[in-house]
Each structure stands twice: as C-alpha cells, then as structure tokens.
C-alpha cells in the first residue's frame, strides 16, 4: 500500500494512475484519507498528471471543511494501490504480502534508527528465503462451462467479461461455443491455474458476478498438469 514518496515524480505518477478511475482516495466521498494524502503532496501536481491534478484541485476546494470530513486519518502507507511498496517506514509488513494487518509496526510514523535497521535486516532475510523457493509450482488445467441466460445473450461480451478476470497464477486458454439446445450456446473455456493462488471457488464467484450475462458456471473438467 502507499504511493511511494509523494514528493517525488515517481510517487506522483503512482497517485495519478490510482486516481484515473477514482474520484477520491477511498470510497465515493471526500474523507480524511484524501486529507492525509493531500497534506503529503508538496503542491499541485504538474499538468501532465491530469488525474492527480483534478483530484488535488477538488480536495483543495474542501479546504475549509477539512477537519470535518469523515473517517480517521491513518498512516500514509495504508492508502493507495495494493501492490506498491510502502516506503513511508510506518509499517513492517512485507509489501508483497496482501495482508494489511500490521503486526510489528506502531501507529507512530516516526521510527527510531535502531528499529528501522533491524526491520530492514529481517525483511532482507525473508526476501532471500522466499527467492530460494523451488521453481516447481503445482498447476491444473480447468475446463469451465459458462451458461448464459438465453439465446439472445451476447456471447462475445460474455467471453470478454470472463477473459477480463485477472488473477496472479491464472492464464486463459482457448474457448469455443457449444450448443445446448433451443438456440442457446454455452461458452466452454480453458484456463491454467496455479493451485496455490487460484481456486475454482474464486473463479466461480467472479464469473457469476457478471449477472447480466452469466446464468451459471460449472467445472466441466479438472486435470492436474
């Protein structure tokens, strides 16, 4: 979490990309999250970072109500995209970990030199251990049957929606349309998943979330590779 160093162009770039499809840092109303990030930015972002600039001007217009915006101001490192390394030094969780719970860090953004050095050492050890992990990863090939509501459902859109599901360890393969009767066709699509990272439950949840197109999803075949 976090945007990196918000006083640097790289940090502002992360902020800009994050805000491309969002009006606020968190949720759909201005909150203390926006105040926290606003105060960390040293001034209006340059004009080529149009989303960051839009957000900046918008939050600036709430200048007078800053204190009364909802939410609690948390450490800067807790906001922003989930896959950016937290460089503010206020959390000790491994940035590659999705886990937000900070077991070792304190609420105080200030950290003593000693504690910081120790934490860096421990992180370095953990990283090197992780890097030595065996290259062999368990994979499976899954054939999914995705059924639409009726014969008028746009199967091209349906396939697009299914393929839009992205996850670490998930690769989509070939697909074909199989008629099941009454003009209705189901989409049979192949995918290769890493067993540790992706499960059929998650796939089912995400696919059936496209309620407009998908009536149901079944696993037609499941083979270990």
């Amino acid at each position: 979490m976090g945007f990196g160093d918000l006083k640097s162009p790289a940090g502002l770039q992360v902020l800009n990309d994050y805000l491309a499809d969002k009006s606020y840092i968190e949720g759909y109303v201005p909150s203390q999250a926006d105040v926290a990030v606003f105060e960390a930015v040293s001034g209006p972002p340059p004009a080529d970072l149009c989303h960051a600039l839009r957000w900046y001007n918008h939050i600036k217009s709430y200048e007078k109500e800053k204190a009364s915006l909802p939410g609690i101001k948390k450490a800067l490192g807790t906001y922003g995209p989930a896959d950016v390394e937290d460089t503010t030094g206020s959390g000790a969780t491994d940035s590659k970990d999705d886990d937000d719970i900070d077991l070792f860090g304190s609420d105080d953004e200030e950290e003593s030199e000693e504690a910081k050095r120790l934490r860096e050492e421990r992180l370095a050890q953990y990283e090197s251990k992780k890097a030595k992990k065996p290259a062999l990863v368990a994979k499976s090939s899954i054939l999914l049957d995705v059924k639409p509501w009726d014969d008028e459902t746009d199967m091209v859109k349906l396939e697009e929606c299914v393929r839009s599901i992205q996850a670490d360890g998930l690769v989509w393969g070939s697909s074909k349309l199989v008629p099941v009767g009454y003009g209705i066709k189901k989409l049979q699509i192949q995918c290769v998943v890493e067993d540790d990272k992706v499960g059929t439950d998650m796939l089912e949840e995400q696919i059936t979330a496209f309620e407009d197109y998908v009536q149901s999803m079944d696993v037609a075949a499941f083979n270990k590779i």
Binding site: A20, D21, C50, R54, S61, E160, S164, F210
Partner: protein, 174 residues
C-alpha cells in the same frame, strides 16, 4: 427510459414523496406536468428544475452565476444531444467530448454535485450499460464520473449497476 419514469426517479432521489402524474405530448413524448393552481409545465428540464425547487434543494441548480449557467448548459446538452442522437457515431462523438471535458472535473460543474449530474446520469445510463470493457476504458473519465454518480446515495435506485473493472486491460494511455 420514458420521461415520466425518469421524473419519478428524480422525485424519489430528491426526497419528494408526492408522486406527480405526468402526461406526454406530441410525437416525441415530451413530458407535461399539470400544476395545482398554475400553468402546465412542459419539458424534461423545466419540470426537473421545478421539482428541485419544490424539494428545497436549490443548491442542486448551482451556487454562483457561472455554476448556474453551467448546470443549464448541461441540461440543454442532455435534451438536445443525448436524447437526440440516432447513430453509433453520434454516441461516440458524445462520449469523446464528455471524456475530455471530465478530465479535470469530478462533477460536471467541477467540484459540486448538481442536477446536471443527475439528469446526465439517467440519460446516459441506457448507453453506458451496453458499452464493452474496452470502450469503458477508452472513455475513462466518463466511466469514473458515472461510477461515482451511481454510488451517490438515492440516485441509482432500481437502475442496474454498471460494472467497471478495476484492472486496466487494454491500454496504458488515454
């Protein structure tokens, strides 16, 4: 969406409980509201503005003179360009213009939520619902604005919620 249905949605989002009866006039089904003691009001934006004043929410029409003008500008845009379009080309031009307009604004008037946002949301809903993932990404600012308005309390009601995918699938530039 039929004009009468849209005005009923607007009434609910403004917190008006009355439920006026609207009739339709002419070939293009322009809505008409018969007021109790006064003249009949014709036209979507006219009736909408009247409802806002009835609900005592005049701030939705803009606070400064410029803001009020911008609200009117977008109401006019809604009726002439959004409702009046016929081809896919029209829709593309419209979305392109709207996308570049919204680049530096959170709401249509800039920083404040107004009637313009509400009516443009209702007007565009039937088109946004049909956009492909690629198009939603192409018109990123429109998607951002639309997603924001549909989460605004009391606006979406029974209309379907359009899904906007968080990961950028197609391009990195816009």
């Amino acid at each position: 969406m039929a004009a009468a249905a849209e005005l009923t949605l607007l009434e609910k989002s403004l917190g008006l409980s009355k439920g006026n009866k609207y009739s339709a006039q002419g070939e293009r089904q322009i809505p008409v509201l018969q007021t109790n003691n006064g003249p009949s009001l014709t036209g979507l934006t006219t009736i909408a503005t009247h409802l806002v004043k009835q609900a005592n929410k005049e701030y939705l029409l803009g606070s400064t003179a410029e803001e009020k003008a911008i609200v009117q500008q977008w109401l006019e845009y809604r009726v002439t360009r959004v409702d009046g379009q016929s081809t896919k080309e029209d829709l593309r031009t419209l979305l392109k213009d709207l996308n570049s307009y919204l680049e530096d604004k959170v709401y249509l008037t800039g920083h404040n939520f107004t009637l313009a946002d509400i009516l443009l949301y209702y007007g565009l809903h039937r088109f946004i619902v049909d956009l492909t993932v690629q198009e939603k990404e192409k018109y990123l600012n429109v998607s951002r604005w639309f997603c924001h308005i549909q989460h605004y309390p009391g606006i979406r009601q029974h209309l379907s919620s359009v899904v906007f995918i968080k990961n950028r699938l197609y391009t990195n530039s816009h």
